[in-house]
Amino acid sequence: MASISKLNRHQARTAYMFITPTILLFVIFTVVPVVMAFYFSFTNYDVVKNRDWVNFDNYKRLLHDDLYWTTFKNVAYYTVIFVPLNILISLGIAMLLNFRRFGVRLFRTMNYMPTLTSAVAAATVWVWLLHPEYGLVNTLLGYIGITGPAWLAQTETAMLSIILVTLWQSIGSNMIIYIAGLQGVPDYLYESAKLDGANALQRFRYITWPQLRPTTFLVSTMSIIGALQLFDQAFVLTQGGPGNVTKTPVYLIYQQGFNQLQMGYASAQAFILALAILIFSIVNMRVNKSEESVV
């Protein structure tokens, strides 16, 4: 017995040694800044001069910050449309490309490509594509007699354009995750279902979809977090305009902290955003709750 526990202790020591570098980095670059930001959210920290305790002033100010809540509405709208579409399209493409057939890899690669491009560069190209007069999108629409809108400049279409561009860029990686998930579904399930006379729709409904729950949970959680932190694409495509309809919380946090030197207030804003992400994630967890626990 003694020798076994000795071995265990030895193994545990080795394990800790292996994870130490990662944990250290995690603590220094994630845990410590988060704790500090939490502290700063109760101060009027401005990086250079002040760091006085102001109690809940920053949070009180937040309550009456209409612009901040507008940006929340914007990303909520974005998330509600973006996340379901993201799951639907990436799962759809994954199912289309989940075959062993000549050339299928080429299509997988092509679908994955947008993910590899830099967000800013891709968004810049999309600005051209969406130009009202000379853009490819409106030119194509023109051939079938439709006068396309000024996609990025009109309040009605600006957020939709951002949703489309970010979808285009994010479905690639989710497709890969779904393909991996699909290949993990055991064949005998389909086989026995077929023997029992289940059609394709039923097989999807009762086998594929439940089997993919852990995958869907992962994909939806990641895209919710990403959606609420929307920044780069919106910044490049519309700079928050027109009429504030595409401004996002992260945009405001950045502006308040780095441009206006109100790091304390920006930290408070960031914490509320983190809270919102937590709430959305919990809701998502409930929705995805499966028989076998996922988390």
Partner: protein, 442 residues
């Protein structure tokens, strides 16, 4: 947390883009990238006797702009042997300066977007220059007063202007002549008439826009032309009145009745497809930083520049912007840094060398008297505009008020989503709140 990295990336990209646009690109081969360009980054100023004092100069201009800076730095280093300045490119300069200002490693001279003064001076990170000016007998009258005002906080001067700019009206001579407009417009009415005549629609497609209304941020300029001001003296918005209404009515007429422009027409058109350069836009407000770009088109783009047309009551207006040099409080060699700032910004020959190198208008007025500026048909209208141009109000919350309250509401108005009255009222309410929330914290 990973998001912050991309935030930084965005910030640096946007500042780089900004620098690129303001810096212009001088096609002349007078910039001399010597070996200093390749030397390693910021070595802290060593203080050993006999050796020259080494100063670090931070800026966020890269490429052509960096070469222009280095030309000036080299010229200064050659002019004496006590001080040696080195330019260090900081893509994300302001963020970097924030940490450097408190933790040591502060540069000795900083290239400074002047409007930031009202935000940073109250934080005691910039060194006041009044004593140096008095000691060296430098007259403030030699500089553009408005530019100095922008560098002043509580009657103390924190820097000297390096460049000044203001927007004036660029017009395409050929498009105006073809449409039968003999002279470039001098007032709002003539501008409207010329815009109507030069606009060309093909069905629902706008082929040539008469006049650019793409930038709602120019409200400030129009408001001045209508005889108004953006803020009251006690720091509140001052556009919810008939002056502000006049601007919105004018824009509404141009955009929705005369249809001389279409929202989003210029969005995303880079330098190579610039609407004005490619003859798709007859008139637009722009700054001297675009001269180099447009001149490159040579015969393909026959254009002229006139000062901004006057408003209904003859008021003139334009917004002055530009850069300056400041000395951080954290610098260990402020006296030497001042020598450099003085040499560059307050000396006629050097200011002129800078102007010719970078194709910017210097803030030092004696240098403007040179024929290089006075005899040039493109510089002249800008000089006239600068005489009437006013800086943006020096309230630390001004840019936020403009960007988050005024411009969004004006955009909604332009797209017919709310009336002029509602627009002004909402912009006032939201704007006043933002001004208050972002007021000076000492």
């Amino acid at each position: 947390m990973k998001k912050w990295i991309s935030l930084m990336a965005i910030a640096s990209i946007s500042t780089a883009a900004l620098a690129g646009c303001s810096g212009g690109s001088s096609g002349k081969g007078n910039a001399s990238p010597s070996s200093t360009a390749a030397s390693s980054a910021s070595e802290s100023s060593g203080k050993s006797s006999g050796k020259p004092v080494e100063l670090t100069f931070w800026g966020d201009w890269s490429g052509e702009g960096q070469k222009q800076f280095e030309t000036m730095v080299d010229a200064f280093n050659k002019s004496q042997d006590r001080i040696k300045v080195k330019y260090v490119l900081q893509q994300d300069m302001i963020t970097k300066f924030l940490t450097a200002a408190t933790s040591g490693g502060s540069p000795d001279i900083l290239f400074w977007d002047r409007w930031r003064t009202s935000l940073y001076a109250p934080k005691n990170v910039l060194h006041p220059l009044d004593d140096y000016l008095a000691k060296d007998g430098i007259s403030k009258d030699d500089f553009y007063g408005e530019a100095l005002k922008e560098l002043t906080y509580k009657d103390q001067l924190y820097g000297l202007p390096l460049t000044v700019d203001a927007r004036a009206l660029f017009y395409n001579k050929k498009l105006l002549a073809d449409a039968g407009v003999a002279n470039p417009p001098t007032n709002w009415q003539e501008l409207e008439d010329a815009a109507i005549k030069t606009t060309k629609w093909n069905g629902s497609k706008l082929q040539v826009a008469g006049f650019s209304l793409g930038d709602a941020g120019l409200f400030n300029m129009y408001l001045q032309q209508a005889g108004g001001t953006m803020l009251t003296d006690d720091g509140k918005t001052n556009f919810n009145n008939d002056k502000g209404k006049a601007v919105l009515d004018y824009w509404d007429r141009l955009l929705n009745q005369d249809k001389v422009y279409k929202i989003g027409f210029e969005q995303g058109l880079g330098e190579s497809t610039d609407a004005f350069a490619t003859g798709k836009l007859a008139m637009t407000y722009n700054g001297p930083w675009m001269l180099t770009t447009y001149k490159k088109y040579g015969k393909d783009l026959d254009f002229g520049v006139v000062p901004p047309p006057a408003g209904p009551n003859g008021d003139k207006g334009s917004v002055m912007g530009g850069f300056g040099l400041v000395i951080p409080e954290g610098s260990k060699h402020q006296q030497e840094a001042w020598e450099f700032v003085k040499w560059w910004t307050a000396n006629k020959d050097n200011a002129l060398l800078w102007a010719k190198t970078s194709l910017n208008i210097p803030g030092f007025k004696p240098a403007i008297e040179d024929p290089f500026f006075q005899d040039d048909p493109f510089w002249k209208p800008f000089l006239e505009t600068l005489e009437i141009a006013k800086i943006r109000p020096t309230h630390p919350g001004y840019s936020v008020m403009e960007g988050d309250a005024l411009v969004p509401n004006v955009q909604l108005f332009q797209q017919g989503k709310q009336s002029a009255e509602d627009t002004l009222k909402k912009a006032q309410q939201q704007g006043d709140k933002l001004l208050q929330d972002n007021a000076v914290v000492e």
